[in-house]
Symmetry: C2
Subunit: 345 residues, 2 copies
């Protein structure tokens, strides 16, 4: 990775708030050049760049990454060097095509490109390992509070904390994978404005974050209540949130990851109550977007039940999310139903 | 009950579609005079009467019951004879005041008025027995498909079938209660246009109806899918509807009511799929109304769990309904929450 004065070439898939901050962190350290793939905000970003108000970076107007595109570049026909890293920060909707593995395929060089998944949930690396069995796949677990109130306008209220580690790829020597993680952390941290650290135990980190994500996310999305209101609403914490979180803790334990006893309370109280913050899945249902319930709820449920853990709360939440997703698929014409009939007496 | 040429005097609380058809059945047999209590459609009904298109009654224009009022009459100050029956067909929202017992209090003569609850759910008689320990309380379980597309305009697509029996009041001799049920059935059936029968086993009839109501109602309301779509949506029947219904069947069995083996399949297939009918609770959430989840879901859950039955599906559905109801209470100002704060780093 010694091309372009030792800068790595990074393809960043997803140009929303998380992607924009990631692109900024990667470029301000001068250890990477970023090609960012924008979708809905492409026109705004290519014309005006990003306008960023950030607790980490201050105010930056009209900032542009090295290259802004609106489709996945083709590695074979690109002018510049092939991408060293493909960093994916999009939502990961496992049950709606195209799969992420297919989406990024044009830019992937087998056995070479390092793929970084800054995405939530469990087993998200599996389809990528199946598609690219000799590539290193890195896990990125991000804690960041950022949103995009208007196209290209990024507001970051909570600091970016990113944990990077390798998903275990049995086809590659561990040291190659670990080196890739270290290299990415170095480049991402080089600007000095963020907290990016090596993750010594990727599965444990992911299970820990699921205590919040697999529980508050679907409960808030299904009820329409934000994380403040769900704590105020009668018995919602005692009847739903806490039992669901304890099921994740039990599943994590069965998978070999003993989480601290305080984790449930910490996660319940994580968002400041009076901010009335919607978790991402509630934001998605409010916008009519698909929800990423398979990776953040379906996979831990399947893992836990496979290990003999009873997960009755998450089971019901899972099938409710599936029905909500189906409704959205019908609205978008991805499933069709028999026409409405007349009542025949 | 020999007043007015042997007609019974009936106060009918709730002048929507079910109430209008009940009023019609009671009056066309000339065995009852009906005072109907209308709320939102009062102005329309007092001026134009009801316009009814009915599979049982054909087309009837500008039909008026004997008396149309918009508040509960005061038994002490009324001109006519006191009411023999108070028939309640309103929604029964147990967790939102006023209680039904308080609502009808002005019209009740203790130890005399027979109160008929044509409402869904379990234990709905208990608050009324507590308030009126020496009155007969009758159970009405109704199967009817009727709605009110415009104020005072009633469309009845499915026949009215009404099962009447006494809730067991330990303070009264059984034969008095049974006679009241028989008398009401006779008066309701006298017009010959409906199916009204004595219910030999009120608790069993109510448990049976809960197989549909405690399950499809909340599942459809929470997911936003009607009874047709819920059968088409991926694993919603296998993952939600059937497990929930089997929990009700198990609770009914523990309570001494063995339901037929076919009941689950019958209830799943009860609504014609291609009609895409919303159950009442989904209609209520769509209209922003409160949902009657305590009587149709909370009570059977509490009864079943008290008897040692595991009801994990209904438990989650119950707390989700409670959260949905809380959201509506906040919207209507019945609960208040701390003001939104600014984020302090």
């Amino acid at each position: 990775m010694a091309n372009d004065e030792s800068k790595a070439s990074v393809l960043l898939v997803g140009g929303g708030s998380v992607g924009a901050i990631a692109a900024l962190n990667l470029e301000i350290g001068h250890q990477a050049t970023v090609t960012i793939v924008c979708r809905s905000n492409f026109a705004a970003v290519i014309q005006e760049g990003y306008t960023i108000r950030s607790c980490d970076h201050g105010t930056i107007n009209n900032w542009k990454p090295t290259k802004i595109v609106n489709t996945i570049p083709n590695a074979a026909s690109e002018e510049g060097p092939p991408f060293d890293y493909i960093v994916c920060v999009t939502k990961n909707i496992a049950d709606v095509p195209p799969s992420l593995a297919d989406l990024i395929r044009p830019a992937v060089i087998p056995s070479k490109t390092v793929i970084v998944l800054i995405q939530n949930g469990l087993n998200i690396e599996k389809p990528l390992l199946a598609a690219y069995p000799h590539n290193t796949i890195l896990s990125g677990v991000s804690l960041i509070g950022a949103n995009e109130p208007a196209p290209g306008h990024i507001a970051q209220d909570f600091p970016d904390t990113l944990h990077i580690g390798a998903f275990a790829n049995p086809n590659l020597p561990p040291d190659i994978q670990e080196s890739a993680a270290e290299d990415f952390v170095r480049r991402y941290s080089a600007g000095g404005k963020t907290h990016c650290a090596l993750d010594p135990n990727v599965p444990r980190t992911r299970w820990r974050k699921l205590v919040y994500n697999a529980c508050l996310n679907p409960i808030c999305a299904i009820t329409g209540l934000d994380t403040g209101r769900i704590r105020l609403a009668d018995d919602a914490v005692a009847g739903l949130v806490r039992p669901a979180m304890l099921e994740i803790v039990a599943a994590a334990r069965a998978a070999g990851h003993e989480l601290p006893a305080t984790v449930v309370g910490d996660m319940i109280d994580m968002d400041p109550l009076e901010m009335y913050l919607p978790p991402s899945m509630l934001s998605d249902t409010r916008k009519g977007n698909f929800i990423e319930y398979e990776n953040i709820l379906g996979e831990p449920l399947r893992e836990g039940e496979k290990l003999g853990v009873a997960m009755p709360t998450l089971r019901v939440l899972y099938f409710l999310c599936q029905a909500v997703q189906w409704k959205n698929k019908e609205i978008r014409g991805l499933v069709s139903i028999p026409p409405k009939g007349s009542f025949v007496t």
